[in-house]
C-alpha cells in the first residue's frame, strides 16, 4: 500500500538529487537550468501530494501557478544563456566568475 510517506520520501529524494546536480555540474549552464526544473518538479509533486491527501484543491492551483512561472523562468533563462553564449562563445560555468570578490 502506497502511503503519503512514500510519495514524500520520493519527492525529497528527487529534490536532493537535483540539489546535488546544481553543484556537481560545472560543464554547462543548461544542465543547471534543468536541475532547477527538476527541483521545481519535486516541489510541485509535494504540493500535489499534500493537496491530494488533505483534499484541498488550492495546492493544485498553486502548482498551476508554479508551472506558469517556471515556464517563464526557463524561457528567460534560455534567453540569457543564448546571449551569454553569444558573448562568451561557451557555456562553461568555470568561465563565469565575474562575481569574484
Amino acid at each position: 500500500m502506497i502511503t503519503m510517506s512514500h510519495y514524500l520520501v520520493f519527492s525529497a529524494l528527487l529534490f536532493c538529487i537535483s540539489v546535488a546536480g546544481i553543484f556537481i555540474n560545472r560543464r554547462n549552464i543548461l544542465l543547471l537550468l534543468m536541475s532547477i526544473e527538476l527541483m521545481l518538479l519535486s516541489v510541485n509533486t509535494n504540493f500535489i501530494i499534500f493537496s491530494h491527501y488533505s483534499n484541498d484543491m488550492t495546492g493544485q492551483v498553486f502548482v498551476f501557478f508554479i508551472l506558469a512561472v517556471a515556464a517563464a523562468e526557463s524561457a528567460i533563462g534560455l534567453a540569457i544563456i543564448v546571449s551569454l553564449f553569444r558573448i562568451r562563445n561557451s557555456l562553461e560555468i568555470n568561465l563565469i566568475n565575474k562575481l569574484k570578490g
Binding site: L32, N97, L99, K100, G101
Partner: protein, 635 residues
C-alpha cells in the same frame, strides 16, 4: 596705616609695569631711578608701619581687601596680616630690595635688557611682599609661586647661556616638586579647618579633634600636613635633598643672587614655617624631621663650600648651610630664633654677594677664585665690607652673626632629646666648617698675590656700588643688638617658648665662652694654616679623609640623582609614547583592528570565488545547517 601698607604692593607692581612696558618711552637710566625710588619709598612706608607695630603692644593689622574666590563656603581672599613677625620681614625684604635696586643701577648698566631686569626684580619684590603680608595660605602660595617664577626668569636672564637656561629650568622644576607637596599640605590644612585663613586656623587649632582625623602612613594628620608644607619649604629654602638648584642658580646676575637666592626668597620657607608656628606646635614627628634635615644641611652642604672654587657658588653653599641653621631652629620650635638668624643672615649674606659682585665686576666677570688673590689693596672698601660679612657669618663675637648663631646653638640644648643633641653637635661642627670656608674664601680672594690677568685694570667700582655695601656692612655689624626684639617677638597667636634671656651683656659673655667660639678658634687656626700660610698637614692625607673629600667634591651626587630622575622621566616618556600610545593603543587597537579585519577579509574573500556552484554549495550548506539546528530544536 592700612593705606600705607596697601600702597607698598601697588608701588611695586607699578614699578614693574612701568619699567617692563615702557619700551621706548623711558631710557634705561630714568627707569632705574624710578624703580629704585619706588622701592625705596615703599621701604620707607614699611619702616613707618614697622615702627607703629613695634611701638604698640598688641597691634595686629588684619584685613581682606580683595575677595579672590568666594563661592558658598569656599572663600579665598587677598589680604594682609601684619604682626611683629611679618612687619620685620617686610622691612628686611624691602631694605634688601632697595639696596639691591640701587646696586643694580650700576651693576647692570651695560646690559641691553636693563629695564627687563628692573621689571623682574620689582615683580619679585611684589611677590615677596604678597607672600609676607599674606593672611591666608593661598595668598602665601601665590606669592610663593610668584617668587619662584621671577627666580626662574632671572636665573635665565642671560638666555643665550646654555648653563643659565639649564639652571633656571632646574630651579623651577625642583621648586615645583616642593610646590606639589606644599599644595597638598594646603589641601590638608583646608580640609581640617575648612578655611585657608591663618586667623581661623589658629583660633580653631585647639578645638581640632585630633583623634578623629585620619592618619596616613603612620603619621598623624597634622604631622603629615606640616611635613608636606615643610617639603615645600625644603625646596624653596634649599634643604637636602632639594638644595641642588641653589648653587646652579648663581647663573643669574649677582644682585639677584643677593636679593633672591640669599636674603629673601630662600628664606620664604623659614618664614612660612614661622608663620604657621601654631600648627607646627602640634607636630611630634615632623619637628624631628625638620631638625635632622636642617642640621644635616648645615653641616654637609657647608663641607661642599670648602672645595668649591666659584666665588658665587661658595657663597651659595654657605647660604644653604646657614638656611640649615634656621631650619634646625624651626625643628625645636624656636621660630623667633630662626627668624632672628634669617634677619641677620639677610644682611651679611646680601653683603657678601654684593661684595662678590663688586669683585666679579672689577675682574671683568671672572668668578674663579683661583684667578683672584691680593685684592685687599686693590679693592679696599670691598675688602673691608667682605671682611665684615665674613666675620659676621662665622659668628665673630659682637657681629650680628654671633648673636643669631649663638642663640640657635643655645636653644638646641633646651630640648632634652637625643636628636636635638645630635643636631647640636652637627651645628657646632657646621660652625667650624663655616669658619673654614668663609676664611678660605677671604684669604684666597683678598690675600696673597693676584693670579689673574689685566692686573692694572682692577679698580674699585663706582659709588653706587659701594653705598649699598657700606649700608649692609653697617647692618651686618650692628643688627645683632636687636636680639631682645626677636626674643620677645610674639608670632601671631603663639607666644614664644621660654628662652631664658637675661640681657645683652650676660648673653655676650655666655656666648663667648661657648663651644661655638671654641670651634671658631679652631676654624681660624685651620684656615690660616691651610689657606694663608699654605702649610700641608700630614695627618690630612690618610685614606678615609681623602675618600670623604672625594664624596664632598662630588657634592654627594645629588645632582646626578636628579639628573637621573629627569632622564628617567624622559625615558619613561619616550617609552610610554612609543610603546603605549603609538604601539599599543594606536598600533594594536586603533589601527590594529581594521588591519586585522582586512587580513580576515582577504581570507574570507577567497570563499567568494565567483563560481556559481561554490555559491550554490554554500547556500545549500547553510540551509542544511539551519535546517539541522531547527530539527534539533524541534525534535
Amino acid at each position: 596705616m592700612e593705606s600705607l601698607l596697601l600702597s607698598i604692593p601697588i608701588l611695586l607692581i607699578l614699578s614693574s609695569i612701568i619699567t617692563g612696558f615702557s619700551s621706548k618711552l623711558l631710557n634705561n637710566f630714568y627707569s632705574g631711578i624710578i624703580s629704585t625710588s619706588l622701592v625705596t619709598l615703599s621701604f620707607i612706608f614699611s619702616i613707618i608701619i614697622c615702627f607703629n607695630i613695634y611701638s604698640s603692644d598688641n597691634l595686629i593689622l588684619y584685613e581682606n581687601f580683595y575677595s579672590w574666590i568666594s563661592v558658598s563656603n569656599f572663600n579665598i581672599g587677598i589680604g594682609y596680616l601684619i604682626d611683629k613677625y611679618s612687619a620685620a620681614m617686610l622691612v628686611v625684604v624691602l631694605l634688601i630690595s632697595s639696596v639691591v635696586h640701587l646696586y643694580s643701577m650700576s651693576y647692570m648698566e651695560k646690559e641691553k635688557e636693563y629695564k627687563r631686569f628692573f621689571s623682574y626684580i620689582a615683580l619679585f619684590t611684589f611677590s615677596m611682599i604678597l607672600l609676607v603680608i599674606s593672611n591666608n595660605l593661598i595668598q602665601l602660595f601665590i606669592g610663593w609661586e610668584g617668587v619662584g617664577l621671577v627666580s626662574y626668569l632671572l636665573i635665565g636672564f642671560f638666555y643665550k647661556k646654555r648653563s643659565a637656561i639649564h639652571a633656571n629650568l632646574k630651579a623651577f622644576l625642583i621648586n615645583r616638586i616642593g610646590d606639589m607637596f606644599f599644595i597638598l599640605g594646603i589641601a590638608m590644612i583646608y580640609t581640617a579647618f575648612d578655611s585657608f585663613d591663618y586667623r581661623t586656623i589658629f583660633l580653631n587649632i585647639n578645638e581640632l579633634d585630633l583623634d578623629n582625623l585620619k592618619t596616613y602612613f603612620g603619621l598623624s594628620y597634622i604631622d603629615l600636613s606640616c611635613l608636606l608644607l615643610f617639603i615645600g619649604a625644603m625646596a624653596k629654602s634649599a634643604q637636602i635633598p632639594l638644595h641642588i638648584w641653589l648653587p646652579d642658580s648663581m647663573e643669574g646676575p649677582t644682585p639677584i643672587s643677593a636679593l633672591i637666592h640669599a636674603a629673601t626668597m630662600v628664606t620664604a620657607g623659614i618664614f612660612m614655617v614661622g608663620r604657621l608656628s601654631p600648627v607646627y606646635e602640634m607636630c611630634y614627628i615632623t619637628t624631628n624631621i625638620i631638625l635632622i634635615v636642617g642640621a644635616s644641611t648645615a653641616l654637609f652642604i657647608g663641607l661642599i663650600a670648602i672645595f668649591e672654587n666659584d666665588i658665587k657658588k661658595v657663597i651659595a653653599y654657605s647660604t644653604i648651610s646657614q638656611l640649615g641653621y634656621m631650619v634646625s631652629a624651626l625643628g625645636i620650635n624656636a621660630y623667633t630664633v630662626s627668624f632672628f638668624h634669617l634677619y641677620t643672615h639677610a644682611f651679611f649674606k646680601a653683603l657678601l654677594f654684593l661684595c662678590a659682585g663688586s669683585v666679579i665686576m672689577s675682574l671683568h666677570h671672572n668668578q674663579d677664585i683661583l684667578k683672584m688673590g691680593g685684592l685687599k689693596s686693590k679693592l679696599p672698601i670691598t675688602y673691608i665690607c667682605f671682611l665684615i660679612g665674613t666675620l659676621s657669618i662665622i659668628g665673630f663675637p659682637l657681629t650680628s652673626g654671633f648673636f643669631s648663631k649663638d642663640l640657635i646653638l643655645e636653644v638646641m640644648l633646651y630640648k632634652d632629646s637625643t636628636i636635638s643633641f645630635v643636631a647640636y653637635v652637627m651645628l657646632i661642627l657646621g660652625a667650624l666648617v663655616t669658619t673654614i670656608y668663609s676664611l678660605r674664601l677671604l684669604f684666597i680672594v683678598f690675600y696673597g698675590d693676584y693670579r689673574g690677568d689685566n692686573a692694572n685694570s682692577v679698580k674699585e667700582q663706582s659709588l653706587i656700588i659701594l653705598i649699598p655695601l657700606i649700608i649692609l656692612a653697617l647692618l651686618s655689624l650692628f643688627s645683632g643688638y636687636s636680639i631682645k626684639i626677636f626674643i620677645d617677638m610674639p608670632i601671631f597667636m603663639w607666644s614664644p617658648s621660654e628662652i631664658k634671656y637675661q640681657g645683652l651683656l650676660p648673653f655676650i659673655t655666655h656666648g663667648i665662652f661657648s663651644p661655638a667660639t671654641f670651634s671658631l678658634l679652631i676654624g681660624f687656626y685651620i684656615s690660616i694654616k691651610l689657606y694663608k700660610e699654605k702649610t700641608d698637614f700630614k695627618f690630612l692625607k690618610f685614606f678615609l679623609f681623602e675618600k670623604s673629600v672625594v664624596a664632598i667634591k662630588s657634592k654627594y651626587k645629588f645632582d646626578e640623582l636628579f639628573l637621573y630622575l629627569s632622564l628617567f622621566m624622559k625615558k619613561s616618556s619616550l617609552y610610554f609614547s612609543n610603546k603605549m600610545d603609538i604601539a599599543l593603543i594606536d598600533g594594536f587597537i586603533v589601527n590594529g583592528i581594521p588591519k586585522r579585519i582586512n587580513i580576515l577579509s582577504t581570507y574570507l574573500r577567497t570563499i567568494s570565488s565567483g563560481y556559481l556552484y561554490h555559491y550554490a554549495f554554500l547556500i545549500v550548506l547553510s540551509l542544511v545547517i539551519i535546517f539541522a539546528v531547527i530539527l534539533v530544536r524541534v525534535l
